[in-house]
Subunit: 439 residues, 2 copies
């Protein structure tokens, strides 16, 4: 079975870092990156469906489906799926995000054929029996309960809910007890049939591999599943969209926790916005590490928290910028005042030349150090192929970081940090009024 | 400055995986492993002091000290320490365990000299000013509060407390609010002076390095700190000890959590017990992954939990074997019954040939796949040098795993799993009686 289109996206150097892509009949994409000095290989199957694609009454369906895919196929039950990979010392798992779902494995290079076979079987040929749906519903309800017991997790979900309101991107990936109890097998199977198509799937593989061999293995596995053929083109990436209205609000969950958990932030820029590199440098300076302003002011100088950081995350048509702090309940006013003061200082003056150099070094080094393992490289090319028009090479990303100017940082800081603020708080606060902190 | 003793512990192959050790004047050990195909390097400074070495009234001193070491030296304040490493995209951090403390960094290979200089400065020359002690006391109290808000974390601590009673190994690494508030600067400095000696320190480095160059850099950094010299021999590893009496008990923390968190287990074997490989294979079969008995019975067949696993951990003179489950409070009787039934089945019949093969494959593959990153290799040789008489090579470990027999598995299972059981539970249980589950 030959690929319809096959191209070298990046030639690499001396056989290292060569990125290639083939499109198989039926629209399935295979992207690979060579890492000839490692013995492992990471394989991901990325499907372009996330919790954003759910109708409100089906909240949690995508994640429920992800669980069900490990329950069995015509040739493997749940034990056969996990033991095939674990018995060779590998790992297999999956995760569901708001805009995509990923099934992945990491094994020794000799075991690549087996890993591709198992993953493709799971992704294309799950049975989703009524018994499996019932048993797994219990597991999902347990996962929701576990999540609810972790305030540092819940606060991020509450922040998204307040920031985006009752929209697909504002609702929880896991769903709620009510939506999970109400989901029928038919509904879940319908999502599986509608979205788990070769045209919406990217197989990404990084490690000690040869591209053509990977393509052969993937094609054979999809052919066995009857999912290969036709001239259909891949579905284009989810880029832009209606956008998200700017919103501001406070959400307080009154709970008797030892620490208050706080996220303060705004909407931010989308995944394809060129200013994301400038925002990254600003984020490094504000709360990106131990040398950042928030860590230094809140933890090092004042001892007001153990964990504090800021983050920028991106979706196809929006993004988030947030500051997280966990602190004793009595410290929250001081902590929030520092956060607002540091934000105001950056809006007024930008960040220093030292901070810019450090922020760039942090992004550059983090990228390079992060790409030594097969899993990170597999994710970079797999997610990249699914969500971008064109995958940037590592060198292109490094160049973009280097090219960021002080003016660009100030511009994006003023855009993002002057939007209306939203605040989510979990802690023993009764009806305490936090509205002054988002004014 | 020449090393007093320098030897090749393992020759490696084609320049890969060569492990070398040098002992510097003053008793400081340097162990390295070559990974010529990577661009990063991981550096660890392992000090042979842990929370086990604390007097009861100083519980938490070792961990408090670990925090304080990042606060400043004569030449670097806290910001200078973190920004030196973060500005080049590296990471620097530390952790405190019951029997050792480790300071580590991961950077690009060109930055090795800087990373060694910063880590050695922190470990040898911390100022520990009274102001730093006061500010950091707040941070530690925040860390304790954060920990207390995570029931899946607290349950393990409660289990250790019940299993080992009020002994150094049974007390929490973080300390308590009372011990942290009571700790004086003088007391902490006394621990620093008494334990942070070159004779108790191992520097381990893995990555794209040359051993002799690493030794030079470490020697120069310790010389600058005035900590190099003399003929003192390294302190021998902490091996064996008085042992821990077998104990059995139930500890229930009544909390309004969504999930019950449970650890059921026993004391187990020490770090140098040759049966640890057989116990590892048994553990893989009982609760070591998705294909294990506990995962299959509790989650896959019955949908009673999201997370369940078993583990075996080792100290110098004892160990733990435990089963963890997080489940809705109403499911706990069913879950504990399954746990006890599976334990009883293994005690009666051992594990199947399939499970033995899978367990060995899991341990072998996990070891090999885990050793692709510099951090894992650095940890293996650094911790190994500190706690073992002799470091096993990866091939020796693989041989030991292969050599495990069904009889050995049955023997160690019967030894460990027939000891008195201890149970820790966190959940909304009032005064519910759990004693039948440890009978």
């Amino acid at each position: 079975m030959t690929a319809l289109v096959s191209e070298i996206l990046f030639p690499g150097k001396d056989g290292v870092g060569t990125v290639q892509r083939s499109i198989l009949p039926g629209g399935l994409r295979v992207v690979t990156e060579t890492m000839p000095t490692v013995r492992s290989v990471a394989i991901g199957m990325w499907v372009g469906i996330g919790s954003r694609d759910e109708a409100p009454e089906h909240t949690g369906a995508t994640h429920f489906l992800e669980h069900l895919l490990f329950k069995g196929t015509p040739t493997r039950d749940s034990l056969a799926i996990s033991s095939a990979i674990e018995g060779i010392g590998g790992e297999i798992n999956a995760f569901t995000a708001k805009e995509y779902t990923c099934y992945y494995a990491r094994v020794l290079d000799d075991d690549l054929p087996l890993a591709i076979d198992v993953l493709a079987d799971v992704v294309t040929s799950s049975l989703i029996t009524p018994e499996d749906v019932d048993a797994e519903r219990g597991v999902i309800l347990e996962e929701i309960a576990m999540h609810d017991d972790d305030p540092s997790d819940v606060v991020h979900e509450q922040f998204a809910a307040e920031l985006y309101g009752d929209t697909p991107i504002g609702r929880p990936i896991l769903g709620t007890v009510d939506t999970i109890n109400a989901l029928s097998r038919d509904r879940i199977v319908e999502y599986y049939r509608r979205f788990y198509l070769p045209t919406r799937t990217v197989v990404s593989v990084a490690g000690n591999i040869v591209h053509e061999r990977v393509v052969e293995l993937v094609a054979a596995a999809y052919e066995r599943a009857g999912r290969l053929g036709g001239e259909t083109a891949p579905v284009p990436p989810r880029i832009s969209g209606p956008g998200i209205a700017e919103k501001s609000g406070v959400r307080v969950l009154d709970r008797p926790t030892e620490q208050a958990n706080v996220v303060l932030g705004t909407t931010a820029i989308s995944r394809t916005d060129d200013r994301r590199f400038a925002l990254g440098v600003m984020n490094a300076a504000l709360g990106g590490g131990m040398s950042s302003r928030l860590f230094q002011e809140i933890r090092e100088k004042r001892g007001l928290a153990y964990s504090t950081y800021s983050y920028a995350s991106q979706y196809s048509d929006t993004g988030q910028f947030g500051i997280y702090v966990g602190c004793l309940p009595s410290k929250i006013d001081d902590v929030l005042k520092i956060c607002r003061d540091e934000v105001a200082r950056i809006v007024a003056h930008g960040i220093s030349e030292d901070e810019i150099q450090r922020g760039k070094g942090q992004m550059r080094g983090g990228l390079v150090l992060g790409l030594e393992d097969t899993g990170s490289r597999m994710s970079r090319i797999g997610k990249g192929e699914l969500v971008y028009d064109r995958l940037l090479t590592v060198d292109e990303v490094l160049d973009r970081i280097d090219a960021v100017t002080p003016d660009e940082i100030l511009e994006v800081a003023r855009d993002v940090l002057q939007r209306p603020f939203t605040l989510a708080v979990i802690g023993p606060y009764g009806d305490k009024d936090f509205s002054s902190f988002i004014a």
